[in-house]
């Protein structure tokens, strides 16, 4: 049984603030390879900037403090490497922009500690799947009206269902996050990076990025 948005919000409300941030950070880890794909395909952006921001977020989840100034600085740095979809036309530019938004919003959860902000990150992750399916599965390549049947198909597509399933698992992982050791968290992050849209693992984009 998969979670709907209102159920997710209820689960997030019940989590302590650091766990909410952990939930959002796990969603971001899943999105990160799409940004990497953007960097490879469009020869633009900087994945390492986003990884640095995620490292800072995980340090906070592990107990470190992160000042509001440092958060604002990280948000500004991330936004600086966000693609503009008027200038970058590939599918991965759209996904990369969503990834940047998700990371900036995750940083925001540290400041506002709101479950609504963490829920917005989950929405961004779903929006990425929606954007991906709209690009790759739409039979019409030129400008056209939206077909409600196609929208309904996307809402029930396996990739969409998987994302909801991953979010449910992320809620469970976030509950125990403060009890995990550093190596457990590293493993969790690595697992999330192999889930979701996966442009590299599925061979959609040739991996030319250095491992980090």
């Amino acid at each position: 049984m998969m979670m709907e948005s209102n159920q997710l919000r209820t689960h997030l409300d019940a989590l302590p603030p650091r766990s909410r941030t952990a939930f959002a950070a796990l969603c971001c880890e899943r999105l990160l390879p799409t940004y990497q794909a953007f960097q490879v395909v469009e020869r633009a952006g900087s994945t390492s900037v986003l990884i640095d921001a995620l490292d800072a977020i995980w340090a906070y989840i592990g107990g470190a403090t992160l000042s509001s100034e440092a958060i604002a600085q990280l948000q500004a740095t991330c936004e600086h490497v966000a693609p503009d979809t008027e200038e970058h036309t590939s599918l991965y530019a759209e996904l990369a922009l969503i990834t940047v938004s998700a990371i900036c919003l995750t940083l925001q959860t540290i400041l506002d500690q709101q479950s609504a902000t963490a829920a917005e990150v989950a929405e961004r992750a779903l929006a990425a799947v929606d954007a991906y399916l709209n690009r790759v599965a739409d039979p019409q390549l030129t400008v056209h009206a939206v077909n409600p049947a196609f929208d309904a198909w996307i809402a029930s597509a396996p990739l969409f269902a998987s994302e909801r399933q991953f979010q449910q698992e992320n809620i469970a992982a976030a509950r125990t996050i403060t009890m995990l050791q550093d190596h457990d968290i590293a493993r969790l992050r690595a697992i999330e990076r192999t889930r979701g849209i996966q442009p590299f693992i599925r061979g959609l984009v040739k991996n030319e990025m250095p491992e980090r």
């Binding site: 936004e79 008027e86 400008v143």
Partner: protein, 270 residues
């Protein structure tokens, strides 16, 4: 220099206003419904409250002069006085035809939102006199001073754009093309992404249609209109419209009701 700039802006505005006025008078004579709608509010306002409307016109003319003077831009203030205020007084005193052109200024006072936006006067501040000449060519197609009045279509596109998260707002565009087909008004909404964001889709109202596909938001919505036999009338975008889209808008016969991206010395500015 300030005097030249103020003078230059006055020259530009006057020429742009005259071009628009002539075009609009021709359209009115030809019975163009859109133009009639555009000036309808102004004419009604003049009939209802002639003194109040004229006061609004002068208030709108005087406001930038006051701003320039208070900011120490005395030259600009004098230039505007010579080229805007005095001719306006003259036109109204003599009942000259250009009075109607100045009447469009009443829009700044919030009385004729559409009239001003459609009156062809979008020009952000002209930084130097050299840029004026190039702009005059397009004067008939440009819209009013955006900082003074916001067209309702621009407000709507901004409302839809604000549904995006704050980070996405700075990196993508939302646009609306208002068109007409068989007497029915249709608003075509598009994004610089393939689709509108799911939140934007959920917020669309009856009469608003989403266009999906590749390309800039404005161009996408215009292409949709073309493919579906919709006559485009107005275009509003969440960000300044790029030169290529401005060109497409002009070719379609529509006009922009939100700012255009300016080009100076080959560099595009917002």
């Amino acid at each position: 220099m300030g005097l030249i700039i103020g003078f230059g802006e006055g020259v530009y505005d006057t020429i742009a206003g005259l071009v628009t006025l002539v075009v609009d008078v021709v359209k009115l004579i030809a019975g163009d419904a859109a133009t009639r709608r555009t000036y309808g509010a102004l004419l009604e306002e003049l009939a209802r409250d002639p003194l109040g409307t004229l006061a609004g016109i002068f208030e709108a003319i005087i406001a930038p002069i006051k701003t320039d003077w208070q900011a120490g831009r005395y030259g600009e203030a004098i230039g505007r006085t010579v080229f805007e205020l005095l001719p306006a007084i003259l036109a109204i005193v003599t009942g000259g035809g250009s009075a109607a052109g100045y009447a469009a200024k009443a829009g700044s006072a919030g009385k004729t939102v559409d009239a001003l936006a459609d009156a062809g006067r979008i020009a952000s501040h002209v930084d130097d006199i050299g840029r004026i000449a190039g702009r005059v060519d397009d004067a008939g197609r440009m819209t009013g001073r955006v900082n003074d009045v916001v067209d309702p279509l621009k407000q709507r596109v901004d409302d839809l754009h604000r549904l995006l998260d704050p980070y996405a707002q700075n990196h993508r565009t939302t646009a609306i093309v208002r068109g007409e087909k068989n007497g029915q008004q249709i608003d075509i909404v598009a994004s610089s992404n393939q689709r509108l964001d799911p939140r934007q889709r959920a917020a669309l109202r009856p009469g608003e249609i989403e266009a999906s596909g590749p390309g800039h938001a404005e161009a996408k919505a215009l292409e949709y209109a073309q493919r579906h036999g919709i006559t485009p009338q107005k275009v509003a975008a969440s960000r300044p419209i790029c030169p290529a889209c401005t060109q497409r808008i002009a070719e379609s016969g529509a006009h922009p009701v939100s700012p255009l991206r300016r080009i100076r010395s080959g560099i595009t500015e917002e």
